[in-house]
C-alpha cells in the first residue's frame, strides 16, 4: 500500500465516521499547509485560523473527494481558495507567488523557499527542532544516515534503496526505522513526548 493509498484509506475511514483517521491526515500535512499559507498571509494567528478552516472544509467535503488526485493536492486547492477568500474579505490581493502550482493533477511544488513563521517563539522552536534533527542525523552510522536520507529527501522506495545500498529490503526497513528512532529520541524533549508509552 503506497503513501497515497494510505491517505485514501484514511479518507475512507474518516468518511465512515472515524474522525481519528482524519486527525492522522492533519498530523501528516498541517506543517506543509502552514508553510504554504505563510507565503500568502503574514500574521501567525491568521495562518493558524485559515489552516484550521481549510482542514474543517476538507473534512466536510470528504464525501466529494474522488481520490483522482492525491489528498494533499486536493487539500492544497482548498487551502489556496480559503486564503484567497480570507484576503478578499479584507480587501487584500492574493500574492502571485502562490499561484504557480495550482495545477489540477500535479503535486503542488514544494520547492518554494519556506519563510519562517514570524513569531519569535515559533522561530526558536523551528530552529531547535532543525538543530536537533541535524545533530541526530550527523550522529547516525553511515548506513542509517544514507537510508533515511534516500527515503525522506529523495523519496525513494525501499526496493530502490535496497538496490542502491546492495542489501535486502528488510535491512532497509530496519535501518530507516532505527534512524527514525534515533532522531525521535533527540526530538522528544523538545516535543514534550517521552516515547516510553509504547510497548
Amino acid at each position: 500500500m503506497s503513501e497515497q493509498d494510505i491517505d485514501r484509506q484514511l479518507v475512507e475511514r474518516a468518511r465512515n465516521g472515524d474522525k481519528r483517521a482524519f486527525e492522522l491526515l492533519v498530523e501528516k500535512y498541517h506543517r506543509r499547509l502552514l508553510r504554504l499559507l505563510s507565503r500568502m498571509v503574514r500574521n501567525q494567528d491568521e495562518i493558524d485560523d485559515i489552516a484550521q478552516e481549510t482542514f474543517i472544509k476538507a473534512y466536510r467535503a470528504l464525501p466529494q473527494f474522488r481520490g483522482d488526485a492525491a489528498f494533499y493536492t486536493w487539500l492544497y486547492r482548498i487551502g489556496v481558495n480559503t486564503a484567497r477568500n480570507y484576503l478578499s474579505s479584507r480587501g487584500k490581493a492574493m500574492p502571485t507567488i502562490s499561484e504557480h502550482a495550482a495545477n489540477d493533477d500535479d503535486e503542488p511544488d514544494e520547492r518554494i523557499v519556506a519563510q519562517d513563521i514570524n513569531t519569535p517563539e515559533s522561530m526558536l522552536h523551528t530552529k531547535q527542532v532543525g538543530m536537533a534533527v541535524n545533530e541526530a542525523i550527523e550522529a547516525l552510522p553511515a548506513e542509517l544516515k544514507a537510508a533515511i536520507t534516500l527515503r525522506e529527501l529523495e523519496g525513494l522506495s525501499y526496493e530502490e534503496i535496497a538496490e542502491m545500498m546492495n542489501c535486502p529490503i528488510g535491512t532497509v526497513r530496519s535501518r530507516i526505522f532505527r534512524a527514525r528512532e534515533a532522531i525521535a529520541t533527540r526530538l522528544r524533549p523538545l516535543l514534550g513526548t517521552t516515547g516510553d508509552k509504547r510497548w
Binding site: 500500500m1 465512515n16 474522525k19 532543525g130 529490503i169
Partner: protein
C-alpha cells in the same frame, strides 16, 4: 514476493518498525489496514513524530504548539460524516430479460423446425409467399367453390355435416357406400 522477501530477512520485526514501514507506504494492504484501524495513543504519537522528522529533514518548519489540540477541539464539534453508500444496481432485471429472450429464441426455433419444409429447406408457408406482396381488400377475396369443397372433403371424416357453399343448405351425408 517483495513482502515475502522482507519477512524472510526480518523475522523479528517490532511493532514500531511496522509503523515506520506503514508511514513510508511499504506495507501490504492487509497489514496496513490492520495498523490504521487499530492505532492507540502511543502509536498516534509515533505517527506524529515521523511526520515531524520528515518535515524537519525537508525544512518544512514546525507548527506552533497547540495547533493540533485546537484542531481536534474544532473537529470534535463537527457532525460525524457518514458518507452514504452508493446504491447498488438491481441485479435481477438483466436475468429476467435474459430468460425472456431465451424463451423467445426457443419458441422461434421450435416453430421454425417443426413447420413442414419444401425442397429448399424453407418452411412451406414461406415458400408459398408471393414474391411481392400486394394488398388485397377484404371484400375482394372470392374463394373458389372448388377450393372450399376440396377442403371440406379432406376433412369430412371429422364433420357431422357438410355445408354447401352456394345455398347454405344442410344435408346429411354418409361415408359408407350402400351397396345393393
Amino acid at each position: 514476493m517483495k513482502q515475502a522477501h522482507m519477512n524472510a530477512t526480518t523475522p523479528l520485526e517490532s511493532a514500531d518498525e511496522l509503523h515506520s514501514a506503514l508511514w513510508d507506504g511499504e506495507l501490504d494492504d492487509f497489514e496496513a489496514r490492520k495498523l490504521l484501524g487499530g492505532m492507540d495513543t502511543a502509536q498516534r504519537e509515533l505517527w506524529a513524530e515521523y511526520a515531524m522528522i520528515g518535515d524537519a529533514l525537508r525544512g518544512v518548519g514546525t507548527s506552533r504548539s497547540g495547533f493540533m489540540q485546537r484542531f481536534e477541539t474544532a473537529l470534535a464539534s463537527e457532525p460525524t460524516i457518514l458518507a452514504p453508500v452508493a446504491a447498488r444496481k438491481p441485479v435481477v432485471a438483466p436475468y429476467l430479460w435474459t430468460a425472456a429472450a431465451a424463451a423467445m429464441v426457443a419458441i422461434t426455433w421450435t416453430v421454425w423446425t417443426a413447420a413442414p419444409t419444401d425442397v429448399s429447406g424453407q418452411p412451406q408457408w414461406m415458400a408459398q409467399q408471393p414474391a411481392t406482396s400486394q394488398p388485397v381488400a377484404a371484400n375482394e377475396y372470392q374463394p373458389g367453390a372448388g377450393d372450399l369443397e376440396s377442403y371440406m372433403e379432406a376433412h369430412q371424416d371429422f364433420a357431422y355435416a357438410v355445408v354447401s357453399v352456394p345455398d347454405l343448405t344442410v344435408e346429411r351425408v354418409s361415408l359408407t357406400e350402400v351397396r345393393p
